[in-house]
């Protein structure tokens, strides 16, 4: 009743100044136009890529090695395998470290201490550092530098170095999203466990983490989909566009964004269009991952 009354009053007031009403309509239309332009950009982009790329994606395109001689027989096999390896290694790196950091910041850290505030601002800032800067870090510190881990790099680019670089790049995303998921677990759950005699860690391990698993998994998948779409850091750590054998963890590698980049800068049209095929494969991988994220969120999300 009261709602109806206010809306009636509002209507009366609005009618009182019809100039304001016209302006309102104009303003609203301008905003709608913005949304329309943004959405149609997305639409045109997807349609353009689909028209160019979908006819190229045949089983042979997936299983063939790239070719500089015959565009008909060129494929993305090493790039696709490289991307899947990168994703797996990256996940192995970011899941334990990202979740541990999130648990520390949410459950243990005292925000009034300066060092905890430094960590927090630092993570927010790292999330907005340009990806090419992570590439520089990967090149100088991991590929050619002091933490050439287990001597695998030996000064030359390896898949492991690429995965670590991408891992550092998306770690802030994992931490930020996991923190939100952990924060969403109500304090009463923790208090209940502590009151039953559980230690702090038992509470976290048995109650808090299972309760936030859906949010954490979603965050990890989002982070991984960002990681496998990155081009610049991989250029820096030396991924190659035309690789003629399957990648190994301690050897040179290719990845889908690099294959797209390599094809897109080709001067010959019949090779440049191969980029669209590789884009379709990459977008298909991303779509699968995002569907998985949505499924996990719906399946395991806790309502408190």
């Amino acid at each position: 009743m009261t709602v109806a009354e206010t809306s009636v009053t509002r209507k009366v007031v609005e009618r009182a100044s019809s100039g304001a009403r016209t302006k309102d309509l104009l303003f609203r239309s301008a905003l709608l136009l913005c949304l329309f332009v943004a959405v149609s950009f997305l639409g045109v982009l997807l349609i353009d890529v689909a028209i160019d790329g979908v006819p190229l994606v045949t089983p042979e395109f997936i299983t063939n090695f790239p070719s500089r001689l015959d565009p008909e027989r060129s494929g993305v096999r090493p790039a696709l395998i490289g991307t899947l390896y990168l994703m797996a290694l990256c996940a192995a790196f970011i899941v334990p470290i990202g979740v541990a950091a999130a648990v520390y910041l949410e459950e243990f850290a005292d925000p009034s201490r300066w060092w905890n505030r430094v960590i927090e601002v630092n993570i927010q800032n790292l999330a907005a550092v340009p990806s090419v800067v992570y590439g520089i870090l990967g090149l100088a510190f991991i590929v050619r530098g002091p933490i050439d881990i287990w001597g695998l790099g030996q000064g030359s680019p390896t898949l492991l170095a690429g995965a670590l670089t991408l891992g550092l790049l998306v770690l802030p995303v994992v931490i930020i999203v996991s923190r939100e998921a952990i924060r969403a677990v109500p304090p009463s759950i923790r208090e209940g466990a502590l009151a039953l005699g559980a230690t702090k860690w038992q509470t976290i391990w048995k109650m808090v983490l299972p309760g936030s698993i859906a949010g954490i998994a979603t965050g990890v998948i989002l982070a991984l989909s960002r990681a496998i779409g990155e081009t610049a850091p991989l250029i820096l750590v030396g991924a190659i566009a035309f690789r003629l054998s399957d990648p190994t963890i301690d050897g040179q590698f290719s990845a889908l964004p690099i294959a797209i980049f390599g094809a897109a800068v080709e001067p010959r049209d019949e090779f440049r269009i191969l980029a669209a095929g590789a884009i379709v494969v990459l977008l298909a991988v991303l779509l699968l991952m995002n569907s998985l994220a949505i499924y996990l969120r719906n399946r395991y999300e806790q309502k408190w």
């Binding site: 303003f27 982009l45 550092v129 520089i136 860690w201 081009t231």
Partner: protein, 317 residues
């Protein structure tokens, strides 16, 4: 004596074992806390790693090239040998800022428009449909935007009658704008959604029209969040690599002319690394000098943005 042994055997033993467990437990708990803190500290080490890398490698560069020559020189051709080699970073910084400006010209009105619409006008159902679509735009890899700019947008602009080179600043800048649009839209939408309903109701009560409420009440109330959105968008545009690398070519240009090639700092870094210049040479060192410049610029912008975000959170949460 005997009573003493008995107590030691029964409740006493119980209590010692209890204390012992508690100690063992608390040691374990402490160890876990240290481990977790270590993971959090890794993020600080990442920043330290970036800073150390940039400082140590670019100090080698500045050992050979004067700091003033780098910052104020207007000719940039570090990869050519001999006499014509020069290290003035000004054209590179110009192209970076100019392309960012073009991008913001596209992204600020569109992004804010989308943000305002979703926060203030859209019905819950419309928001449920369009918010994920805008986020989808943010999730598309940037290389896809680069391909789109080069193979679709540049030819389209040419068809419209603009005389463009194959690699040009116009297509790169506009598509860069589309790329940062979702950032601006979603951060500003969050800021405006955080404005308390009572402010809107107050304004309606005073007889304001919807657009007046949005423009004169909600927007100013969310201003710090909106500023944060713009700064984050600018920071993203400054640091973007592949769109510019693919669509705008390999020469920085100290000109207002958008029909010619423009190269930003990030694209220069990637292009130089791709050429696989030998480690240790001056050309290799330029990667780090330019990287340091880029890092300082985006770092400053990010700190500003973080400060603004915190301000609107403090006010309304």
């Amino acid at each position: 004596m005997r009573g003493g042994t008995e107590t030691a055997a029964r409740p006493g033993a119980g209590s010692t074992s209890l204390t012992r467990t508690r100690t063992r437990r608390s040691v374990g708990e402490q160890a876990i806390k240290v481990l977790l803190a270590g993971a959090a500290v890794l993020s600080v080490l990442t920043t330290t790693g970036i800073v150390i890398t940039l400082i140590s490698e670019s100090s080698k560069f500045f050992g050979e090239v004067g700091f003033a020559d780098f910052l104020f020189g207007t000719s940039w051709s570090p990869l050519t040998g001999g006499e014509s080699q020069s290290f003035g970073v000004a054209p590179l910084i110009w192209s970076t800022l100019y392309l960012t400006f073009i991008a913001l010209l596209v992204a600020v009105p569109l992004g804010l428009g989308v943000g305002v619409y979703l926060a203030e006008y859209a019905s819950p159902r419309v928001r449920r449909i369009f918010k994920p679509i805008v986020e989808l735009l943010a999730g598309i890899p940037t290389i896809v935007f680069g391909y789109f700019a080069l193979t679709f947008f540049t030819p389209l602009l040419k068809d419209v009658g603009i005389d463009l080179q194959v690699f040009n600043g116009l297509a790169g800048g506009i598509i860069l704008g589309v790329l940062v649009l979702p950032t601006i839209a979603s951060v500003s939408e969050d800021a405006m959604s955080a404005v308390p309903q009572s402010l809107r109701e107050g304004a309606f009560g005073l007889g304001a029209a919807k657009w007046q409420v949005v423009v004169h009440v909600v927007f100013p109330a969310a201003l710090s969040g909106v500023v944060a959105a713009l700064v984050l968008g600018a920071s993203r545009a400054i640091g973007e690599t592949v769109v510019i690398l693919v669509a705008s070519g390999n020469n920085p240009n100290l000109t207002f002319d958008l029909t010619v090639a423009h190269q930003n700092m990030a694209a220069f870094i990637a292009n130089t690394a791709r050429a696989d210049v030998s480690a240790g040479g001056v050309a290799y060192a330029t990667i780090f000098a330019v990287g340091a410049t880029l890092f300082v610029m985006t770092f400053a912008l990010n700190l500003v943005a973080i400060r603004f975000v915190r301000r609107y959170r403090q006010v309304y949460e």
